[in-house]
Amino acid sequence: MLLEVKNLCKEFDGLRALDQVSFSAREGEILGIIGPNGAGKTTLFNIISGIYSPSNGEIFFQGKSLLRLKPHQISRLGVSRTFQIVRPFLNLDVETNILVAWGHRFYPSLLKSIEPFRKVEILEEVRTIIERTGLQPYANQPTKNLPLGIKKRVEIARALALRPRLLLLDEPTGGLRFEEFVQLMALIRQISEEGIGVLLIEHNMQVVMDLCRRIVVLDHGSKIAEGPPEEIRSNPRVIEAYLGKEV
């Protein structure tokens, strides 16, 4: 099993953001995570990536516990992510953004980290990531001037430079134009075909239904359903969570 989440709980000042959430994800699988606003989806990502520590519960990545690991240690193990509200390094160009993540194999050694980072071999490899994510026209532009859709792709490119085994995508399609949207869907599918596990938080039901074979539904911090899209679509608890109870 690639990722196992067991009885995960998170409290913020007495407020339960996550309550006994358990699920697992396999290599090459796109697991959809859906739920109304405030269901705890982003909190879940923040815990898996080590930004928050859970109040209770366990997380195993390839059998290794992620609890008490710092974000950089988790990312070096092969878990990378994007942010719902994009956080590229705004004053660095696209190529340099990707290089930051590429450096994860140099940072642990003091001797290696004083090497210059713009080396031909490295730039070539970064170029393949840039091409894959369709960022060629923007490679040397400062990220702050780019439109949202491109910034989102920069985040994915950066996450891919970590050579992840598991990729956490937090609403990657939000605010995209139709063609960008179609390209992104194809990219996500391609990533999973390489054997990378993908956790996908998404509000767009079309995306989730198309890409995911399995979906986890959160509501008010609890898992209320898990299963294939067809089943989720007709699950009364899910319909209730989204639309409210019938009077």
């Binding site: 710092k70 705004l90 450096g103 980072f117």
Partner: protein, 305 residues
């Protein structure tokens, strides 16, 4: 022959340039504000002074020792600074300078308010180094530091610093060990400030706690911001301009601080990135001059052929 007055100013400016450069590593490159930089200037000055006067070590040993100890203390004092950010970091580092100044002032070992005297200028080839020679030594050290800075900026360390400066949380999830790289910045910045302190002690031959107070921290920070934070040459230019300013404004002595303040306010209003920073009018001006000269040359060559 260069006058003694001029050489004194040149040496002072070179020491300030080293200080501004060292603060730029912490604040410019790694993005960690520090209002306590003069503490490390002081630690370097006091350690090398005491190693010289107390332990009888030569200038060539006491100054490197001051540098190393300042770097170690920088690492230790950097640790409480790792957990705080922005305005809290500013207050914490401010606290450091008050503590260090108080230690120098109230612990008799450090000479108290009387400071430490009897520090001699360095000797070489069996005689005392002259002031112009000392200036050249400092200049060479500064140039070496700037070469080292260039190397660092282009290294993975420099890249990691940029990412921390831009967005600490995102940097962490991209595999950057935030604590490690912040500590590296604190160690290097503090050590170089300590080096400048050692040079300062052997230049003044007499040091007092007041030389390393909070006001001094602000002066160094002003030089960095004025010249262009995060650039290689900005802090150097800032040190030169703000170092010369008090000298050329001697005739209007009373208005000196007024002028100083006015300049900084105008700078923040019109060039917040500093003289050589982002959107720099100075850089734009030189670029446009450069390109128009190049343009004319091209036209000339074209008309010739």
């Amino acid at each position: 022959m260069v006058s003694g007055y001029l050489i004194t100013i040149l040496i002072t400016i070179t020491i300030y340039a080293m200080l501004a450069h060292s603060l730029n590593i912490i604040t410019g490159r790694a993005g960690q504000i520090s209002l306590g930089h003069s503490a490390f200037f002081g630690i370097g000055a006091y350690t090398s002074a005491l190693f010289y006067t107390g332990a009888g070590l030569s200038f060539w040993l006491s100054v490197p020792l001051g540098t190393i100890i300042s770097g170690i203390v920088g690492a230790l004092l950097g640790i409480p600074c790792l957990r705080v950010r922005d305005d809290f970091l500013a207050i914490t580092t401010m606290g450091i300078v008050f503590v260090v100044e108080a230690v120098f002032l109230y612990i008799p070992f450090f000479g108290g308010a009387m400071g430490v005297g009897g520090i001699d200028p360095p000797k070489w080839f069996g005689r005392e180094m002259s002031k112009p020679e000392y200036f050249i030594l400092l200049l060479i050290v500064l140039i070496l530091l700037l070469f080292f800075d260039r190397r660092l900026e282009r290294s993975w360390i420099g890249l990691a610093w940029s990412s921390i400066r831009e967005d600490e949380m995102a940097a962490g999830t991209m595999g950057v060990d935030i604590v490690r790289f912040k500590v590296i910045a604190f160690i290097l910045g503090s050590a170089i400030a300590g080096l400048a302190g050692g040079f300062y002690a052997h230049f003044l031959t007499f040091i007092m706690p007041q030389n390393f107070g909070f006001g001094q921290s602000i002066v160094i920070l002003c030089m960095v911001v004025f010249g262009g934070i995060g650039t290689r040459w900005g802090p150097i230019l800032g040190a030169i301009i703000l170092g010369i300013l008090p000298e050329i404004s001697r005739p209007i002595m009373e208005y000196r601080t007024f002028l100083y303040g006015l300049l900084l306010v105008a700078m923040m209003r019109f060039q917040p990135g500093g003289l050589l920073g982002e959107e720099s009018l100075l850089v734009k001006f030189f670029n446009s001059v450069g390109s128009s000269v190049r343009g004319k040359r091209i036209i000339k060559n074209a008309s010739r052929s």
